[in-house]
Assembly symmetry: C2
Homo-oligomer: 432 residues x 2
């Protein structure tokens, strides 16, 4: 990162804005351009409220333990350069831009030399960052691709950054799967989240190309209420508490097992899970509840009254049948049925319109159906003992599988947080 | 509408909730089901704040003059029934459900007989309606399709409900265009908007099938601030003021010219306009401003200082060139250049991911690009003197055309508002 850029990050918002005015004054703007820029600066003069800003620098990356924002824009990129230095420059530029945007600034200062492309698409100008977090990840292809060690990083690939196995029922589409780099922007404003990824994609022209993207949303649930997914059930009840550092250190953050550059980081598994909503909507309430293992309206485990009541997997009804079916979603996912394995789920719903779909179940309708479902994201210390461990069995037996199809996703190593002045990947690329 | 349903609409929220408890008690729910339902009822016991409720009944349909909500879910339906009575029953059910949902209730009461599909997908349970409006429209196909008068309504087709002409540059995809019925749900919560359309689609099974859908969003701009679209420009500055009844009566609401059933209604034109964001983002700020005819950051017309300053289309620079180019977007759209024509724009941005796209301009890149842009919606008293009049010339000359592609849309007759107890289409179907 250039000294100039680093200095800019240290500027207070007010000073940044003054420097923006100076940039406009010195950049030879036309008579029409100058007042417009000044206008914008005036508009932005009020700093966003502290509540709207999530720290970009810190021990861990934002967007993992951060309370889920209302919107997400995810993008996976393929590297198209042969030059390791290009990647370093890109990651430096991404870090600078991400730090700026997380406090509500444009990706680059608004000064314009008149002949260069506009420095920012400006669609987030004047908007609150809405708790914007930008979480970066490294996919297996950064380390080795088609057997080639393109950037001299193969030896640094963490053992935990596996090639995900093929699970039963997987219908992953290549064009929605994998990627060498990942960026996830989350914000309470959909335009802010999209703006962030778009600016980062611009900075990547000729170095990294978008491979796939996914948007997601959560409802405006009341604070601390578990949001409902599109199946109408509360989703995330069984997460380890982010307020329990012991649990989080045990299951989410990479520790001494390393590699060093991953300490304090976490592995993200993303899965685009289409839900056959029309099929689900034709089921009775009782069958839906048996499938999930919870009461729909309260979120309580079957046989219990309140959402956070402990599930009793041994309880049986008068006929001796388990109250919570063994093949229900929550039973198969429970830590006690997975040798204690836990992951931090951070799911978003997605809604990508509708398209003609052939249902996989009677009466095999072939019709326009919603292309909507769950953009499942989870974090864990090691995917082999996290998502893979848990999903291996679920993919075979979960009653829910008749309603869901995994269509894409990936595994990304999200390094620990950065100190101010450090760039994402600096430790990996040994540029300390 | 059945008396029972009509009565339910008249119940206060509290009484509705009590009746929900009774339904649960009498519907033979299992021991597991009953507490869950009671739980849900408790959760919903607090009525949404008045600010979160837009009136469903009234002189005009909601979602037209209503201040733009943050999210929209649009759906166009093809009628697949031969029976006019099916449509009437559908429109009755839609009206009942829409009125319920607009005050935060489920589409149908939550009582469940155990063997029927769950009465509501429940993903909006406990959420504020977020100013939900549901706006219904009738497409040309309701009146006549493939030359057939399927429902005896051909004589009632308004002259203004034309078949939209093909405009220069149109690349409308059949699967994203037209439809016999339209539903637009708008809410400040994306899950509420989607929930509403999904419930209405469920009610339509076997009578009407989804033809195409479109989601949209607006940023969290400050109140009364014109939101920016994805080109980074403020969009909607030149709208007729919704606070000027004379203007709105002149340009937006259908008057004595009728037909009777359309009095107090309006015609909606929808266009899905993809924006070549990557191409746009490579342009200089000055060129973008020439294209639009406005300063980007302030929103002021070129040569002016403030967003709402009057554009001076006669002003020239030192060389005698117009300050606002004649082929700029605002110049071509201005009322003064369209014999006074005005429309009420109610645009949303859309973000449908990314796909491989061949650019239409040098250097003819063929790459993954964002499938994002504008879900343009406008209302007018007569499309022939509104959208068609204005867009005819714009489609040929607008400098912006090199960055945008119209890919779908439709024209729908949105009748006037309903009295409590009336259903949408009642006047058209002569069921008073």
């Amino acid at each position: 990162m250039s000294e100039t850029n680093k200095d800019k990050l240290h500027l207070s918002r007010r000073r940044f804005l003054s420097s923006g005015i100076m940039a406009a004054a010195t950049a030879g703007l036309t008579a029409q351009g100058a007042p417009a820029l000044v206008e914008a600066v005036n508009q932005n003069a009020k700093a966003p409220s502290k509540d709207a800003i999530e720290p970009f620098y810190g021990e861990h990356q934002g967007g993992i333990l951060t309370p889920v924002q209302h919107n997400t824009q995810f993008a996976a990129f393929d590297l198209v350069t042969d030059d390791r230095e290009d990647i370093i420059k890109l990651l430096q530029a991404w870090t600078t831009a991400a730090a700026r945007m997380s406090v509500g600034q444009t990706a680059k200062p608004l000064g314009n030399d008149g002949s260069a492309p506009a420095p920012d698409s400006a669609d987030a100008l004047g908007l609150s960052p809405g708790r914007l977090t930008i979480t970066f990840g490294f996919g297996p292809g950064l380390f080795i691709k088609d057997g080639k060690d393109r950037y001299g990083l193969a030896a640094k690939r963490p053992a935990a950054l596996i090639d995900l196995p093929r699970f039963t029922g997987d219908q992953l589409v290549d064009a929605r799967t994998g990627g060498d780099l990942s960026v996830q922007a989350c914000s309470d404003d959909p335009q802010v989240a999209f703006h962030a990824v778009r600016q980062l994609a611009r900075l990547a022209y000729d170095v990294a190309q978008i491979r796939w993207v996914q948007t997601g949303f959560t409802p405006n649930s009341k604070p601390k209420e578990t949001p409902r997914n599109l199946m109408g059930f509360k989703d995330g009840t069984n997460n380890p508490s982010v307020n329990d550092p012991k649990l989080i250190n045990q299951f989410i953050w990479v520790g001494d097992e390393g590699p060093d550059w991953m300490c304090g980081g976490s592995y993200m598994v993303a899965r685009r899970i289409r839900i056959a909503l029309e099929h689900w909507d034709r089921m009775t309430l009782a069958f839906q509840e048996q499938t999930v293992g919870r009461h729909k309206y309260s979120g309580a485990p079957l046989g219990k009254k309140n959402e956070f009541d402990k599930a009793d997997y041994d309880a049986t009804d008068a006929d001796g049948n388990p109250i919570i079916p063994e093949n229900s979603h929550i039973s198969l996912g429970a830590a006690i049925h997975n040798d204690g394995a836990q992951i931090l789920r951070r799911p978003y719903s997605y809604n990508d319109g509708a398209n003609v779909t052939a249902e996989r179940w009677p009466p095999w309708r072939d019709e326009m159906e919603f292309d909507a479902g769950l953009f499942f994201i989870c974090y864990q210390r090691d995917p082999r003992t996290g998502f893979v461990k848990i999903f291996e069995r679920m993919s075979k037996f979960d009653m829910m599988n008749q309603f869901v199809t995994h269509m894409g996703g990936g595994l990304f190593a999200c390094q620990g947080g950065m100190k101010d002045g450090e760039f994402i990947g600096q430790r990996l690329f040994d540029k300390a």
